[in-house]
Symmetry: C2
Subunit: 257 residues, 2 copies
Amino acid sequence: MSYSHYTSGHNSSSPSAPPVPENQSQSGGGYAYQRPPSSQQPNYNYNYNYGQPQNPSSGGGGGYGSPYGYAPAPAPNPPSFPPGTHPEVIRSFQMVDSDRSGFIDAKELQRALSSGYQQFSLRTIRLLMFLFGNSADPHRIGPKEFAELWSCLGQWRGIFERFDRDRSGKIDLAELRDALYSLGFAIPPTVLQLLISKYDDQSGRRADLSFDSFVECGMIVKGLTEKFKEKDTRYTGSATLSYETFMTMVIPFLAAE
Amino acid sequence: MSYSHYTSGHNSSSPSAPPVPENQSQSGGGYAYQRPPSSQQPNYNYNYNYGQPQNPSSGGGGGYGSPYGYAPAPAPNPPSFPPGTHPEVIRSFQMVDSDRSGFIDAKELQRALSSGYQQFSLRTIRLLMFLFGNSADPHRIGPKEFAELWSCLGQWRGIFERFDRDRSGKIDLAELRDALYSLGFAIPPTVLQLLISKYDDQSGRRADLSFDSFVECGMIVKGLTEKFKEKDTRYTGSATLSYETFMTMVIPFLAAE
């Protein structure tokens, strides 16, 4: 398998990938491990902006008119979906949020996504919760994070289908490379080999990736790349990390119960 | 939970930990994320020296006296145990190596270890195979690696039992810290918190660690620390990594099929 044209002439080997915008030179000449998002994918680079004001709808108040002599502080609005969220997304969330708490856990997320996508492995689900959820409450996600996640998966599904050219439901290493590139990640061949080798079967035979594994792979790349970028603010392609920083960056990606 | 004495007076809080040898000052004043092995634990720091000459016993030759006109090269000796390996270790290996190939896969390793230790989760088993196995053949391990792994687990079992002071079969965060310290790893409190938080139960309640989880935690620390040390050869406590190096260091630790 030759990668000789990987960095020098990528677009020639994947004509359907969106063109790289001209402002790529902003990356400063280092290894372009993350391309700026192309204009065709305006929503690709999520801002995990949890400080946005909540949708002020549906009060539910609590507290006012209490029989007690003092008025307790009103309960905070339950978390709600951003305006314009597709009704199917809201329905999928509410279907599994049986206690109407406004938050769902990993198993509930797995069920909610299966109504729009498929049954993801719990390992992929936990990775999604880690990347899209709130680090202060890693075991549950709310409506806003769910809507973001749903929309991101929709976009990834589209890209997966575009690169699964033979419609087998699986993509191979070259297709994974092109798909990640089209999501904005130019992954060095050694890294890509290492990543896909984790899906080899027991006898060491290379296996193609299902959508579930593609999402897991892609989220690992997205998550680790974003972590690295935080430490490489000037896009030099390398970063100096203390031992503590290194460990703190990496450990959340390791699977556990 | 206070960590105020963690770095300044560790030994006072864990009197049973082996003393730090005087040559620790060789580490150059950086954060001592890995202590040199103490003299009480001469075997702690394994050298993964796969270049050692094979034990020349038990030929099995093949080939000689072939009816063909040329003598084919003799088959290489099957891999064998280092001299002095305890018979129980050899028996445990041979019990699961049903095809007598001299190599065992993850499920066979799980069964082999369960005869001497316990049933480890497949996740822990895969981590052990990655850390003790041969990177050229990540799906199987041979007798020499098995013997090393067995001996390492024996040592870790001893340390686990030493720090499980109430004999509950579980250790808590402070005991994990002391146990890792006694294995040679001085882990920053933030890292330790992050590591143990992966074993929280579904509702986010802190759970104590079984021996299985202790081995998983410890092997993650051992593996990542050794990787980091390779890039921080002068023990300064920090390392400059390219994006590709960073990704290549980390990805093998992420779980997959």
